[in-house]
Amino acid sequence: MKKKMLAVILSMTMAAALLGGCGNEQKESSAAKEPAATEQPAPQADDPQAAKEPEEAGDNASSEENKPASGLVEGDFTIGISQFAQHGSLDNCREGFLTGLAEEGFIEGENLTVEYQNAEADMGIVNQIPQGFVSNKVDLICAIATPAAQSAYNAAMNSGIPVIYTAVNDPVGAELAKEDGMPVGEVTGTSDKLPVDAQLKMIRELLPDAKKIGIMYTTSEVNSESTIAEYEAAVGQYGFELVTTGINTTADAPLAADNLLSKVDCLNNLTDNTVVSALPTILDKANTQKIPVFGSEVEQVKIGCLASEGIDYYQLGIKTGKMAAQVLKGEKKASEIKMETITGSELYLNTKVADDLGISLPDDVKSRASETFTEIQMAE
């Protein structure tokens, strides 16, 4: 009887794995194909990657064609990409990374072979992936998100294979970089630290009377904890009070949202994976109470957050790709490159959400926005 029950649990887990597999695939393809509804007309380009990120083409001349300035780098290179989970921001990071490499003369399919693996947030597997890369003797490992970076560094430590990470919120806390930002070994990369001050400033501009900001976070995500600490330190400056609620799983989100919404004037969302997954529910609840929700990156604004002063993960990826190119070319060793944090931020607005909430957006904010959405994209 008990064994039978266990068998049921086991098969349910397998079925979940099956469904999860399908769901993720769908998400990936739609993220890649569906053009975002933007006010800026998307420039027509031959390169599919340029078409996908239209704002790119305008302000960055060198990336316009995605063609290397100095031609292909001689040789055959193999890199392994270990991504922690399927996630809009992390996917953007990966695409940006490959673009960054391409700009420096490493083009996938020509002189670059890319082995891409995704751990689907499974801690057992996130360990096994870089071990495979090391045994295949790749030239470089790119690790996306903190656990992937830690595992990759651990696996590659004695092999001499450099590790370039991205989307690691706190590389110093994760013991991947020293206090001064220099690497602890053949490992370096970029941090996706959120521009907390810019975000708070923007919220104050849009909501002059708001007093309390609510943040929901997952207790298991170390990135969220460190970001909250930053918010704690900064809110006073802008005249806000911070209210936080921790959850463990997406299943806790609806109750936590009800609780939080009863106490605050607006919600602020981090890049917390679990909370982002539950964002549609949270938005739904907030909308019925006419409480604005601020996002932390472009994807969240697309699906219904009012605005975000966030970082562009695609840009972060490009920056990381260029670091990787330096290492692959042999110009510098990974241990000689300082870890980087993106400076400045991009403002994303959603005017449809603003209309629904009855919030009028100041003109100077509107003109500052690097991208403005006029409709709410249905979240999958």
């Binding site: 597999g21 499974d122 071990q131 045994s135 903190t146 656990p147 830690q150 170390v222 463990n248």
Partner: protein, 293 residues
């Protein structure tokens, strides 16, 4: 070569954990979900102690003890409060999430700059040159075999006999004037001790603790036990504990194949299919054995 090394390392580390699951699932017939919490408990314990400068080998023992306590709690909830077995495990697993967080202090604790059982001056002096590649495997192998032989030895003691009897026929335990509830508690304690020990080794091998590292432990443990026991049933000269270790390695090999040969999105599906194939093959083998009789 490297990938085989990786599979063996991971397989044996999770094998230690699977030995614990073997006690509860196979010997005691108790579906114990505590392991999803006790595995990271061992890891959290080690992370805490190592960052405070405790000898890494000592942390193995302390982690084991922490797991024992977790197992005792599950046992007490089940035996004394009469909560159903499955539910007792779920309750403890849930409670341990918070306890792990408190023990470790935060959700992710890196150990890169610390000495571990795999990386300290003593070990590094023994394994030099080519041997350094096999350092982790050899240490893990020693630990896994030590656990296996100790468990084998325990199962041959009087207390071990009683444990086996409790899973087999608990009426007999009562007939022997022994409290079957107490025997179950002892079994759960040892099982979760082993699981926590596995977690401790895991954290030291991967060099960080992460709160989510326990998710799905029970699935890996059960898969290892079932693959091992059913596939290698025909090899009667192997002890069940040995087959559990081999089962764990096979499970990790399935994951490695899925990772290496298929697109990332399909990884879990492929792992599930490989798992299914192994089970079907083992059932076919069983049929053959039967018709041969």
């Amino acid at each position: 070569m490297g990938i085989i090394l990786g599979v063996l390392e991971q397989g044996l580390i999770f094998g230690i954990m699977a030995l614990g699951v073997y006690i509860t699932y196979k010997i005691l017939d108790f579906p114990d979900l505590t392991v999803d919490g006790s595995f990271p408990l061992g890891a959290a314990m080690s992370a805490l102690l190592i960052t405070h400068g405790v000898n890494p080998y000592l942390t193995l023992l302390i982690s084991f003890a922490a797991g024992v306590l977790a197992g005792i709690c599950t046992g007490l909830i089940h035996v004394k409060l009469k909560v159903r077995d499955l539910l007792s495990g779920i309750i403890m697993m849930t409670a341990l999430y918070t306890i792990n967080m408190v023990v470790a202090g935060k959700a992710n604790v890196p150990l890169f700059s610390k000495e571990t059982i795999f990386d300290n001056s003593f070990i590094n002096n023994i394994f030099t040159g080519e041997m350094a590649n096999f350092k982790t495997l050899i240490i893990v192998l020693i630990l896994a075999l030590a656990c296996k032989f100790l468990l084998d030895a325990y199962l041959k003691t009087k207390s071990g006999f009683l444990l086996r009897a409790a899973g087999d026929n608990d009426v007999l335990v009562t007939s022997l004037a022994k409290d079957k509830g107490l025997v179950k508690i002892v079994g759960l304690a040892i099982a979760n001790g082993l699981v926590a020990l596995g977690g401790s080794v895991m954290a030291q091998q991967q060099r960080y603790f992460d709160i989510s590292m326990g998710t799905g432990t029970i699935v890996i443990g059960l898969a290892s036990v079932i693959i091992g026991i059913s596939l290698l049933r025909g090899l009667t000269f192997l002890r069940s504990t040995t087959t559990v270790l081999i089962g764990s390695i096979l499970y990790k090999a399935c994951v490695a194949i899925a990772l290496a040969k298929f697109p990332p999105t399909y990884m879990k599906l492929i792992t599930a299919v490989l798992f299914l194939i192994i089970l079907v093959i083992s059932m076919q083998l069983k049929k053959k054995v039967k018709t041969n009789d």
